[in-house]
Every structure is written in structure tokens, then in C-alpha cells.
Amino acid sequence: MKGLIIKDLMFLRKNAKVLRGGFIGIIILGVLMFLSYKYGNIHRWNLEAIAEGTATLEMQEGIYRFVFICFLVVPLMVAAEPVMHLDFDGKAGFSKVSSVLPIPVWKRVAAKYISYIFYVSATLLVDIVIAVVASRLVDFLPATDLIGTLITCTSFIVMAGALTIFFVFCFGYSNVMNLSMLAVLLLSGFFILINWKTVKEFFTIIFSDGSAEYNFSFFSGLGNSIVDKSWIMMVAAIIVFIMSYIGAVIIAYRKRGII
């Protein structure tokens, strides 16, 4: 099993340039945003809004906190990229090779899931560094909140990845990208349904005309909600991950290990 995980990590090494580039880009963007918030245009707009009485400092902090939470998700999105290693497996015909290795099927399936966890962990590590630095620089971004956000986002990514691997085992390697999109859409659809009220409110504010008042406190509340529900997301991720693995093992045995 170790050999298979190493093979997958070699893929990560091959894509290191892309990942590094992505992370550096995000860090540069973060620094620019921070400078603008502290000394630049964002800072000026904030002061003007407070002077005009259209927003309070608390409201502004709420919305920036929400923006930063969204911003934190971006590095984690990079974790979706290694789902491509499944695509590479398919293109190379590696399933043929792996089917004749002296490794039981359940371990071969486990290798795919463990590799994915490694990918997510790598991006999570970068995100934790960003979160810690941000919480030191900005008062209204407490580290605990950021960690809560990271748990929520990581849980979503883990669920999406686990579902993608399961779908690939079910439907084959020919459409990895589409299956990955299907997993994300299914999960998003599920979370939209269970948070329908909040989502409706969110889009009402986003698409409201000029006469409607912007409810800044809503974004602050949404940020809090993401943080508060982190433990539920983590439990959900663990359950989905385990269920997906069990399902994938059953499928793999049915396919005589050609996975």
C-alpha cells in the first residue's frame, strides 16, 4: 500500500509548480488586500462610509470577516486538483498494473483515500499558516474562528474528494473531471437545501436593487454560522469518507480489483 501512496505523492511532486504558484499568488493577493484594508482604498472607503453613517465599524468588520473566510477557501480548492491523479491513473491504464500487485483490494482502495488526505493536508497546512498570520495582523479575525472556518471548508473538500473517488470506482476513469464536478454539485445542492433560508436571504441581499438596504450584519452572521457549524461538518465529513470507502471497496471487489 505504501508504494501506491508514494506513487500518488509523486504526482503531487510533479504538480508542485502549479501548487506553489497557486499558493504564492494567494499570499500576494492576501498581502495586497491587507495593505489596502490598513492603508489604501479599502481603508479610505471604510472611513467615508462611517462618516456618511451608511455603515458602522462593526458591520464592516463583519463583512470583511466573511470575505476573509471566503478567501481562506481558495487555497483549499487547490486540494481538488489532485483528483486529477485519478484521471492520470485512467489515462496510463494503471488499473491493469495495480490489479496484479500483491496487495489486497481493500488496501489498494485505501491507498487512494489516504493519498487524497495527504493532498488535503498539504493545502490545509498552507491555509493554517495564512490563518495564523492573518489573525495576528487583524484584530477582528480571531484564530479560533479561522480554524473553525478551515474545519468547515476542509470537511467539504474531503467529502467532495471521497465522493469523487467513489464515483470513479463506480463509473470508471473516463470522466474524472465530470464526476468530480458531480460530487461538488451534489454536495452543494445538499447544503443549499438544508440551509435554504440562509441561502435565499443571501441572494436577496446580493441581487437587491439600489433602494434596498445592504444588510452588513447578515454577512457577519453568515461568517459566524460557518464557524459554529464546523463540528457538524467535520462529523459529516468523517461519515461520508467512511461510507464512501466502504462503498468503493464493495465496488472494487465486484470489479475483481480492476480499479
Binding site: 508504494g3 504526482f11 492520470f88 496510463a92 491493469k96 500487485l101 500483491p102 489486497p104
Partner: protein, 295 residues
């Protein structure tokens, strides 16, 4: 393992796909031999190999490899089997070094030194991604991997197809060296019969999912012969001796299944040894003629 006579034993194996059926096939591969698995494209060679490797569910029958039924924990036997496919299967970005790192963490008997020696012998660059290798190099890489974990059985599915004669010859030489050890066995599927004629001890002919003929290659070549005669002489030949015949410009070419008896019975006719390819073609003709008759 020393007590095992046949490394592979296949008994009454059936696998029914839509449009193709592996039909009650049985044969065995003796230890220390090179078994040529001959058949045209789509004859069922790859399906049989997949069944041996437990990569497909068979509908009925049994397969034993090293005396162990493949239905039970087949992955354990893969430590002793080197497999070479018609396509490489490794990721194109992987180098020889990468493959070595991966494999030494998979096979308990992986011999790093042997692997790099094979890489050097086959003139394969260890730092070059294998996606940049030619077809011949890719096959050699697979063989290097298959030979570097102390495999007792090599199973190869069309390893020489699409390769030039020089590379093919080089590969056959490697296979010969492998079977110098009498505990080593090869099952080599190919439709290039000339390769098998050079190296095989045993041959198994498969066509349309059925085994047409199997046994010792020399015995098969010894027994069969090509009898050349005029068209009107055909009816004089005993039907029990004829496998099938082919009309030619100046007469008939008949594949006979008992060359010695033919020589005695028809001394005036030209009787030539038949090659494996000719034997395969005439047997396939026979099957086609019979199926036409049945329709």
C-alpha cells in the same frame, strides 16, 4: 513449490460476455516450460490471462496457479508472478527511479540492484520519464519490472507485437535466460507464431474462445504435416487424417494430423513439415468450415 508439476492448471473455465464466450477451456502449463498461447486477435487470449490473474469473474471452472485456487486470496500469488501487458500502464511522468521507489515498497522480494542492472542492460535511461520511451523501451521497462521481484512465473500478453525484429529477438533472448532456472515458467501470448516457434516448449491454440489444440510444441510440429496433391487426389486421402485443406493454384494443400502415417500411406505425394502458423491457419479454417456447414 517443487512438488507442483503444473504451474498453471485451467479446468473447464467458462466466461460469457455479450458477443464472446470463453467456452469450457482447459489446459495446463508445466513448470519450467515456455508456453506459447496462440490465437488471432479476439480469440480469447487476454480474457484467459485475465482469468488466470483473477482479474475477471469466471462463470464456471477452476484455475490453479502454483497449486493454489485463484478464487482464494489471489493477490498473495502476485508476489511470484511477473506480468507484462501489451501497454505499459505506468504514469508517463514516472522515471525508472520513481518506479523503483514505488515497487520496492510493494514487492517483498524487490531487487533494486537487479532492476537497475536490467535498466542498464536494456539501455533504458533511469532519469527519463517513461512517457518519452519508444514502444520497445516501454516493453523492456515492463520486463525489467517483471524480472526484478524474483518472479517464478512470467505472464505476458502480446509483449512482442508492434516491435521490430531486432528488439523482438532481444526480448526472446531475455525470456530464454529466464527459463534457464527450471523453477521459472513463462506463459507468452502472441499471434506472432514465429516468435513462439523459436522459444516455446508447449503451445496452446485458442480460437473463438475454444482451445483448438494444446501440447508439446515439438510433438505438434512432428505430428502435423502439409500434404500437397492434385485436386482429384483429395478424395483418396483418409478423412481421419485431414484437419483441413486449402485450394491452391496448382492443387490442394492439406494439413494432416499424422505425418508419419501419411508418409507411409501416400508415398507419391509431397509431404512437408508444417509451421505453427500454418497449423493455426488450417485449424481456424476447419472451425470456420464447420460453422458454415452447421449454419
Amino acid at each position: 513449490m517443487d512438488e507442483i508439476k503444473n504451474v498453471i492448471e485451467i479446468k473447464s473455465v467458462t466466461k460469457d460476455y455479450e458477443g464472446f464466450k470463453l467456452d469450457n477451456i482447459s489446459f495446463s502449463v508445466p513448470m519450467g516450460s515456455v508456453c506459447g498461447f496462440i490465437g488471432q486477435n479476439g480469440a480469447g487470449k487476454t480474457t484467459t490471462i485475465k482469468a488466470i490473474l483473477d482479474a475477471i469473474n469466471i462463470d464456471s471452472g477452476d484455475i490453479w496457479v502454483f497449486g493454489q485456487n485463484t478464487k482464494k486470496d489471489s493477490y498473495k500469488m502476485h508476489d511470484d508472478i511477473g506480468v507484462v501487458f501489451d501497454e505499459m500502464g505506468f504514469h508517463e511522468f514516472m522515471t525508472g527511479k520513481d518506479i523503483n521507489i514505488m515497487m520496492k515498497n510493494i514487492f517483498k522480494n524487490w531487487d533494486e540492484k537487479a532492476f537497475f542492472e536490467y535498466m542498464e542492460r536494456f539501455s533504458l535511461p533511469i532519469k527519463k520519464p517513461c512517457g518519452e520511451f519508444s514502444r520497445g523501451m516501454r516493453m523492456k521497462l515492463q520486463i525489467a519490472v517483471a524480472l526484478s521481484h524474483d518472479a517464478k512465473l512470467l505472464i505476458m500478453d502480446e509483449p512482442t507485437s508492434g516491435l521490430d525484429p531486432i528488439v523482438r529477438n532481444e526480448m526472446l533472448q531475455i525470456f530464454r535466460e529466464f527459463v534457464v532456472d527450471e523453477n521459472h515458467t513463462i506463459l507468452l501470448s502472441s499471434h506472432i507464431t514465429s516468435d513462439l516457434e523459436k522459444i516455446a516448449d508447449e503451445v496452446v491454440f485458442i480460437n473463438g474462445g475454444k482451445i483448438l489444440l494444446s501440447g508439446n510444441k515439438d510433438e505438434i510440429l512432428e505430428k502435423h504435416g502439409l500434404l500437397k496433391c492434385k485436386k482429384d487426389e483429395l478424395k483418396e486421402i483418409s478423412e481421419s487424417l485431414i484437419v483441413s485443406y486449402e485450394n491452391e493454384a496448382y492443387g490442394v494443400s492439406i494439413l494432416v494430423n499424422d505425418r508419419a502415417a501419411c508418409g507411409k500411406l501416400y508415398p507419391g505425394m509431397v509431404l512437408e513439415p508444417a509451421s505453427l502458423e500454418e497449423i493455426m491457419l488450417f485449424y481456424v479454417n476447419k472451425v470456420m468450415a464447420e460453422s458454415k456447414k452447421n449454419k
